[in-house]
Assembly symmetry: C2
Homo-oligomer: 326 residues x 2
DNA sequence: CACAGAAGTTTGATCGATCAAATCACCGAG
DNA sequence: CTCGGTGATTTGATCGATCAAACTTCTGTG
């Protein structure tokens, strides 16, 4: 295999020095236009590409961000991470950033992986997904002065002026509130909520949205049924959620769900006549034609990269989801 | 931030030279046991980690494999890539390999990306998914002497003695044959097949499996209905497949499908009384409780890495899927 | 016309590891 | 007792880029 051209080769070809070539690439504003032109031409002619590892060694920056591929991607919404990843990789690419994957069985293993990745200059920033109460990863990262952004807000008491933890999240409460409101507008009153038991940040947030909309519409407490599908039960066994919904008497006018999996269960149990709204707008929702709250993953990805890149401005972003009507 | 220890630091601490430390790490068999011990202790004590970029610069190897994140992951089975990726990352990690993601809008863009990734020593091998007829990427990679393995066999005329293209695939024909046979055993005769139009490698392969099983059981041609859902039609609009199935008269005893999406469509159109078998064993199949042919993604990932690593032995692997009965 | 200061470019050193070749230690054969 | 040979370890050079500082060229001012 032919040897690849280096900065020195380009320099010689353009009749300048190594450093000038480097400057053309990294700080073009300090190079005379005419010189830049000549160097650019030489780069083009030789087909030069900077050697990423050499640059990293010297700059101590890898231009690579690490993203965890969750082990327990909970099935159906697994494609959510997929879509997010895709958006992230695409945007990152445009910024000259690479995305490296890693996995870890538990938090301790994940922290050990952080060390490995960071020390080896494999990555210089991390993107974490699925944050939860008492997440030990966050303090570790802050402590070790690692640059990171989470997709998911810090649940629990949180000081919004805390600039050490940057995060991006989607306002599930607003999304579910809109979904509920849309059902109310259609004249439904006894709208049940199918979700997860209290204690999960996202779950509670979504239930709160439903409650808000119901209260605002003046629906009496007696007509508000919230069903919680235990997490210890296989979240994929939609039969459970479905049976739970079917057991509600009298039968609800409509059901708002904390996920499309749950919505599918409800739909199967109640048939197509009872309107159902899901969450995440997965292919299943599209396929079955029920409405769903869609997270703006492109925007999330963009926001994550923005927060990662700049030290200025806000340190968190709460994005609005979009209700996909069908 | 404290400076990280380097080989030199370890060498000094252990009272040996840089190179000896390097040898302990890379070629321990040429170092005296006692010395190895001492160096190991020093590494432990200082918490030394090799600097990945420095090593890559020198060895010209990155220990990183590139994987494309498909843009048009067709929805439901998107989670398939997800699961494959997960298995791959996990196994790769055990072998000290990293997985880097990339995307590309079309084949030309993808080839341009190859050049970027390879020249910069970002990756030294590639894993390609979703191969198709006349895939231009393959000849390019062979031509440029790039190490790669595809998940997906080369469709079209192919010389199995060709050692330049290594691939791993799952034998869909066998899987669908088994699925069909299992329905036949249960006494069903008029088993329809719901798939994609001829021309897609995987689709044709799966249909062939169904036909084989039907022929073997002596089912007359008149009772064999193959329905093809046009790819130009939104593959997610399961209604189309469902309507097609529902239109078959007389109503089939059971339906074998080329994917779980199609199976969901059939299930919704025919109700739970007509047995349906899907493909890919996605969460939807698990949720609705219909059987599905599962690809052994763990094995696929392991095989991909094996083929990448060794020059010996076979250059392709055709794995058997597993029918998940429910 | 000399000279300070800015602008543009070049030179030498360095990042952390491994390669290639040299050196050192030790053993048994002649 | 010397010498060849193997095994273990060390030394010097190098991978390709950027940093820091030195140097050269230009520009405008007194």
């Amino acid at each position: 295999m032919r040897r690849l051209p280096t900065v020195s080769d380009v320099a010689e070809a353009a009749g300048v020095s190594r450093q000038t070539v480097s400057n053309v690439l990294n700080t073009p504003e300090i190079v005379r236009a005419e010189t830049t032109e000549r160097v650019r031409a030489a780069i083009e002619r030789l087909g030069y590409r900077p050697h990423a590892s050499a640059r990293r060694l010297r700059t101590r920056r890898s231009s690579t961000i690490g993203v965890r591929l969750d082990p327990g991607a909970d099935g159906m919404s697994g494609s959510l991470l997929d879509r997010f990843l895709h958006a992230l990789v695409e945007r990152a690419d445009a910024d000259g950033l690479r995305v490296l994957l890693y996995t870890a069985v538990d938090e301790d293993a994940e922290i050990a992986t952080f060390e490995r990745l960071l020390d080896g200059a494999d990555v210089d920033a991390l993107v974490l997904t699925s944050t939860h109460y008492g997440d030990r990863r966050i303090p570790w990262l802050v402590e070790h002065d690692v640059r990171f952004v989470t997709f998911g807000r810090p649940w629990g008491e949180h000081d919004t002026t805390d600039r050490s933890h940057r995060w991006v999240d989607v306002d599930g409460r607003v999304g579910v509130r809109a979904a509920t409101a849309s059902l109310l507008e259609q004249g439904h009153r006894r709208i049940a909520f199918l979700g997860w038991p209290e204690g999960s940040g996202t779950g509670d947030d979504r239930r709160a949205g439903w409650r808000e909309a119901m209260l605002a519409a003046g629906v009496p407490d007696a007509d508000m049924t919230a069903l919680d599908l235990g997490v210890e039960e296989d979240p994929l066994d939609l039969g459970i959620g479905g049976r739970a919904v079917a057991a509600v008497a009298p039968r609800p006018d409509a059901v708002v769900c904390a996920s499309d999996s749950l919505a599918l269960g409800a739909r199967l149990a109640l048939g197509p006549d009872v309107p159902v709204v899901g969450y995440d707008d997965t292919p299943v929702a599209r396929a079955l034609g029920f409405p769903s709250v869609a997270q703006p993953l492109d925007e999330v990805a963009a926001a994550v990269l923005e927060l990662l890149a700049s030290d200025e401005g806000d340190h968190h972003r709460l994005l609005a989801p979009r209700l996909v009507r069908r």
